[in-house]
Amino acid sequence: MRASSLSPAALISSYTGTAANPATIDIPLSYLKHMEATLAEEGGGTFWLAHYQPGQVETATQFHEVSAVAEVGGKCRLTIDGTSGGHSLDTTKQSTLTLPPTDYGDVTDYQTSFSHVDDGTTWG
């Protein structure tokens, strides 16, 4: 039996750039260490996060590529290098970031250590 932590779900509080092509995204500061750890695993490269809006059509096709993580103004600021999926951020619809599915090509080992469907761990 193997246990894992639930995947994070970070509510987006604000962003710069455009809704369809954000330059930065702010999420709660409590996610800073998680995002830093993910970035460190990539050795300074980039990692991807999945986007969804609770209650809307929730799919695994919307992603953001993160190239930097920093604390700015009491938030965890993600620098966005790329966006795919054709979606737009909408804070009134509670745009949220979580981890990519394990079949997503760019998911990191650190990210797959968090709970995913059929990952071999158990509820508990």
């Binding site: 039996m1 639930l6 509510l11 999945a50 969804y52 609770p54 469907v117 059929d118 508990g124």
Partner: protein
């Protein structure tokens, strides 16, 4: 991908919860149960046995204060009345308003329909009107019944309960969030995240607290208000207490009150009273009879135990010397958890 609403709530078995593999289930079922609540949680917004004269040969009007859902839900209305003559035509009209202001009230019609009463003289007529939207800002309904062409009519009861359509996409004003299974069913490899776990609870709580449950009601015909309480001096004149059941709740419950009354003249301050009786230290709330719907809360100490937990509530009215006070409506609403 779909927002699936089961027709029954699905309770996972104990064995399904014993260290199950990290899979779509049992989370998907739990989230769809939240969709079920959004569609099928239907507590009464109003359940009113009317107070009126016997054998009416005229129209009657009742003002029913309400606390509808913030989600502007559809409601279904069931009216029950009895006519002495068979197959009479009675027009049932229901209006709503955001602000009750006596004769100056601006009413919006919800529906009006001519109803043919029971084919049996003296038989019970039940008229149901389904799926009528009631605005979130509505504070009162006006229920009107017209006179039958022959014989008389007794108004018995109206029941108003939510009958929403299946959940639609998006965060609701109440805070409820439907569940779309597109992500969790993706290739059996989706992230199981904290928001889904929390959504089971937050949506259930949002629905339970948004759909108020009518716990006590008293509405009398606006046309003449049979009970005027003008002959009992200037002390409070109580109605017989009503027992309100709160199964497995307590030790206290706080009710939301909506009270409407008016006077013929003189002061209107603190002439309407709602209180719990039969318990030492029970609380009392008074309201002005100023022909506007007054709001307040009443904390009651529950008696009994288990399924037989209850509180006895009493409505009372007093007048000033030489004047009359009319209690038009008093409603108490319970919010689970309050």
């Amino acid at each position: 991908m779909a927002i699936t609403t089961p027709s029954d709530i699905i309770i996972s078995s104990a064995s399904q919860l014993w260290l199950p593999s990290m899979a779509q289930e049992p989370l998907k079922t739990a989230l769809e149960n939240a969709n079920y609540l959004m569609r099928w949680h239907q507590p009464p917004l109003a359940s009113v046995c009317f107070t009126a004269e016997n054998a009416l040969t005229r129209s009657s009007i009742y003002i029913v204060p309400v606390m509808p859902s913030a989600d502007a839900l559809r409601y279904s209305l069931e009216h029950r009345l009895v006519c002495t003559n068979a197959s009479q035509s009675v027009t049932v009209t229901v209006d709503e308003t955001a602000t009750y202001a006596g004769a100056g009230t601006s009413w919006s019609n919800i529906y009006s329909q001519a109803v043919t009463t029971s084919s049996t003289a003296g038989g019970l007529t039940t008229h149901t009107k389904s799926n009528q939207p009631i605005a979130a800002t509505t504070t009162a309904l006006r229920v009107t019944y017209t006179a039958p062409a022959a014989g008389s009519r007794n108004d018995h009861h109206v029941l108003v309960y939510p009958s929403p359509s299946a959940p639609s996409a998006g965060i609701q004003p109440s805070g409820a969030v439907p569940f779309d299974d597109g992500l969790i069913t993706h290739g059996d490899e989706a992230a199981i995240h904290t928001e889904w776990i929390n959504r089971c609870k937050t949506t259930a709580v949002a629905i339970l607290t948004d759909r108020k449950q009518n716990a006590l009601s008293f509405c009398q015909d606006e046309t003449n208000q049979l009970h005027q309480w003008n002959s009992k001096g200037t002390d409070f004149y109580p109605l017989p207490p009503g027992r309100v059941w709160f199964p497995n709740q307590g030790p206290t419950v706080t009710l939301d009150l909506r009270v409407l009354g008016k006077v013929d003249g003189g002061a209107n301050t603190d002439l309407l009273r709602v209180r719990q009786v039969g318990v030492p230290g029970a609380k009392t709330v008074t309201f002005n009879a100023d022909e506007t719907i007054k709001s307040g809360t009443l904390e009651v100490k529950l008696q009994g135990s288990g399924l037989m937990t209850y509180a006895d509530l009493e409505l009372a009215v007093k007048r000033t010397t030489g004047n009359k006070t009319r209690l038009m409506s008093a409603m108490a609403f319970w919010t689970p958890g309050d």
